[in-house]
């Protein structure tokens, strides 16, 4: 069975939404669109208060090399262009507020194109102009990954359909309901990159998705295949969907410490991103909506929803019947790597793969204990780190030692903290150490 070394297997908890077809959330009356929904420089607002926008109109222009534009998720009137706290990071970021006119009038630029005749450069530009970012949660601008430096030869495109986070089923539903779009999008990316291999990796807890993709394959690839296509079932093991672990499982290549997938000839894209790329290249449709799973013990009726970017989370929860119990923790993303937020008034972002509401029981902060050196964290770490050792270094404020023991290789997957019987908040300590070390490096120039 294809897999990587380490990892954990938390309760999957996907049963409440895995069989539910994606429902489209009605247009919200107002959306809040932060200019920073991707890794890299925030976009710069190019609309003013009072402006009329259509669905898909550019409202923020890319700034700098690693940045993408941001578009109006619906048509209506701009009622504010102001600084607001970023929903996840908390720093203040320019946010465009749009009141819906209820008509959802598309922007003139959107319409079918002769995408098959595009050059690779045209495809990549279409992806950039549509504001496509990695939709698995990392939100790295997709066009940038599609334009690797000349000296890096890319031979394989990996499409990530693992969805290894417990509770989340958005990618699963996309693969079941839009398999042709997933494969078409993947092929478009493959052609832009000029790769020989295309692999779609799916955890084996989604055999229906593997089956569906395999069945659709002949009809989509119409004989003019630019590369070999394989759909691989991977062991259900968290974090199978982490970039480096996925590459290891599918190709048995190890991204070198401190390196990127392109260093081993790979580009990895999420299935949702593949669909977004197709929309962008074939239809000029910008990334203004996504599928997300609203779930968790505090949600009355968990659902998979297609929502416009900028929709307040509260609207999603209300559509799902509201809270069944007072929420104690609200998480954007899954339980292993998602980010806890302070309010449900924050908007859905391009990277919001799920909204998870925990009740008081499941969110209980467990009292921690001194480490008893059981070694479970070391067994669980998919990066081959010694979390227990790093934790001791950080407790004693020995950041140089933590760096020497490769804390910067930590991918913050949470396996160590999940498995720790002493309930030590290991990831919390590692995030702190990484940001301190990186800050010192920046100060040192």
């Amino acid at each position: 069975m294809l897999s990587f070394r380490g990892g954990v297997h938390p309760s999957e908890n996907k049963h409440s939404t895995r069989h539910l077809a994606v429902e489209t959330l009605p247009l919200p009356p107002v959306v809040f669109v932060p200019m920073s929904q991707h890794i890299g420089a925030p976009a710069k607002p190019v609309v003013e208060k009072g402006a009329e926008v259509r669905t898909g109109t550019v409202i923020g222009e890319a700034q700098g090399r690693v940045s993408v534009p941001v578009h109006a998720p619906l048509s209506g009137t701009v009622t504010g262009v102001t600084e607001m706290p970023h929903p996840l990071a908390g720093n203040r970021v320019m946010t465009v507020v749009i009141e819906s006119d209820g008509k959802d009038t598309p922007d003139t630029g959107i319409g079918e194109r002769a995408a098959d005749d595009f050059t690779p450069e045209q495809r990549i530009e279409a992806v950039r102009a549509a504001g496509v970012v990695g939709m698995g949660g990392a939100t790295f601008p997709t066009f940038f990954k599609l334009s690797p430096p000349k000296e890096k030869r890319i031979d394989t495109l990996l499409i990530n359909g693992c969805e290894c986070e417990p509770f989340l089923t958005a990618d699963h539903r996309v693969m079941l309901e839009q398999p042709a779009e997933v494969v078409d999008g993947a092929l478009l990316i493959a052609r832009a990159l000029g790769v020989e291999n295309l692999i779609i990796g799916v955890e084996d807890n989604k055999p229906d998705a593997v089956e569906t993709l395999r069945r659709i394959l002949p009809s989509v690839s119409d004989g003019a295949q630019p590369c070999s296509i394989r759909i691989l079932a991977l062991k259900t093991l968290y974090p199978q969907g982490a970039e480096k672990q996925l590459i290891k499982a599918c190709l048995n290549r190890e991204v070198p410490s401190g390196g990127l997938p392109m260093d081993v000839g790979c580009v990895v894209q999420n299935v949702g991103t593949a669909v977004a790329v197709r929309d962008a290249v074939r239809f000029g449709r910008p990334l203004i909506e996504r599928v997300t799973t609203v779930t968790g013990p505090a949600i009355t009726e968990p659902k998979n929803l297609r929502v416009r970017i900028g929709t307040p989370v509260k609207a999603l929860v209300d559509y799902c019947g509201g809270y069944r119990a007072a929420p104690a923790k609200l998480i954007m993303g899954g339980p292993m790597m998602g980010i806890a937020v302070a309010s449900d008034e924050i908007p859905v972002l391009k990277g919001t793969s799920g909204v998870l509401a925990l009740d008081a029981d499941t969110a209980a902060e467990l009292e921690d204990h001194d480490c008893i050196r059981c070694g479970r964290c070391i067994k669980a770490c998919p990066m081959g780190l010694a979390p227990q050792r790093l934790y001791y270094h950080i407790l004693r404020k020995r950041l140089e030692a933590a760096e020497r023991d490769h804390v910067l290789d930590c991918i913050e997957c949470g396996c160590c903290a999940w498995t720790c019987p002493a309930k030590i908040r290991l990831v919390h300590h590692f995030k702190f150490a990484k940001s301190e070390i990186n800050a010192r490096k920046r100060r040192a120039g």
Binding site: V264, K329, M336, L356, A363, H369, E412, A417, W418, T419
Partner: protein, 339 residues
């Protein structure tokens, strides 16, 4: 809307806790403890009870004195008291487990920072302390078990099985027949007694069967790493096989090495102590093999008939060093060829 908690991921944790682990280890020792009561009577209950109660009491007292949170309900002091008692000869006076427990939890554990910070196994360190302080009591306090005698050999009542192997000529006496004694010892009925427990020895070490029952429980629940008992017992077997020794009949001789003495108790319950053994799988192999080598060397050429507790203590001390040289392999450290 109610106040939401905002903390770092992961937001869910695996079931289980330090407390659960400790109490499951206590449960795994129940068969051996019950066996000690069966073989040695109420004395065993009294000594074990005193060991456990005083370990818990001194642990709480020390935590209070040092201004730490009192966490005796985590079960770790219960394990220490239990293991110490199971490592005592059955005829020791009542205060021996009390003094031993005090040494184990106050000096070995709490002086170094409490559970997780001690560098040697508290119960074993206390046993070593008792042996050097009251050698007479600790090396001669043997009793015949119910339904058997001290050596497991008919007519030999003054020595434990491993002592017979070690000192056959002395035990046989002037003009005696040491070779005949060894032949008598290395027979299947004697090995059977070693396995089921009707031989002399420390309270908890006589029945390999009962220890194995607890050990299998710990393996099946994955509370201990199989590498340590496998590496330890395997090394003892191999070395006993290849090294010269008082061999008469090979298989029963190996049976003596495995089932006689404290190997089962040590390999499953003491060498596997998380706090004082290496943290990686590779390190645990090194540790286990080291314990095995030292045990056989002490048994064959050392000053004592048995070497399990000193072997584990020595390897406990070597643990930081082993950890240092057996780090896990970093993902992506070896740059693989592409394509």
């Amino acid at each position: 809307m109610t106040q939401l908690t905002v903390t770092a991921s992961p937001h869910l944790r695996a079931p289980g806790s330090v407390r659960l682990i400790m109490w499951l280890v206590v449960a795994s020792l129940v068969p051996a403890f019950a066996g000690s009561v069966w073989f040695f009577g109420w004395r065993a209950l009294m000594l074990t009870g005193l060991g456990v109660v005083s370990a818990v009491g001194f642990d709480a007292l020390a935590q209070k004195l040092f201004g730490r949170k009192v966490t005796v309900d985590d079960g770790s002091a219960v394990i220490t008291g239990l293991l110490l008692a199971l490592n005592l000869p059955p005829a020791v006076p009542w205060w021996i487990p009390v003094v031993g427990s005090a040494f184990a939890v106050v000096i070995v554990k709490q002086f170094f920072g409490g559970l997780g910070h001690n560098f040697v196994n508290p119960a074993l360190a206390a046993r070593a302390f008792l042996v050097v302080s009251w050698p007479g009591l600790m090396t001669a306090g043997w009793l015949a078990p119910r339904g058997g005698n001290l050596s497991g050999i008919d007519g030999i009542t003054g020595a434990t099985p491993l002592a017979v192997l070690k000192n056959a000529s002395e035990i046989a006496g002037p003009g005696g027949d040491p070779a005949g004694l060894l032949a008598q010892a290395q027979s299947w009925p004697v090995v059977g007694r070693l396995f089921f427990g009707s031989v002399g020895g420390c309270l908890g070490e006589t029945s390999a069967l009962l220890l194995l029952a607890g050990g299998v429980f710990l393996l099946v629940t994955r509370l201990i790493d199989w590498r340590i008992p496998a590496g330890y017992i395997g090394t003892v077997l191999v070395l006993a096989l290849v090294l010269p020794g008082p061999k008469h009949d090979l298989l029963p001789y190996l049976g003596h090495h495995v089932f006689g003495g404290g190997l089962m108790l040590g390999a499953f319950f003491m060498a596997t102590d998380y706090v004082t053994s290496p943290i990686t799988s590779r390190g645990r192999w090194v540790f286990a093999v080291g314990c095995g080598i030292l045990t056989v060397l002490i048994r064959l050429w050392g000053g004592y008939p048995e070497g399990v507790s000193y072997s584990i203590l020595l390897m406990n001390v070597a643990t930081p060093l082993i950890d240092r040289f057996t780090r896990p392999r970093l993902f992506g450290r070896v740059k693989k060829a592409t394509g």
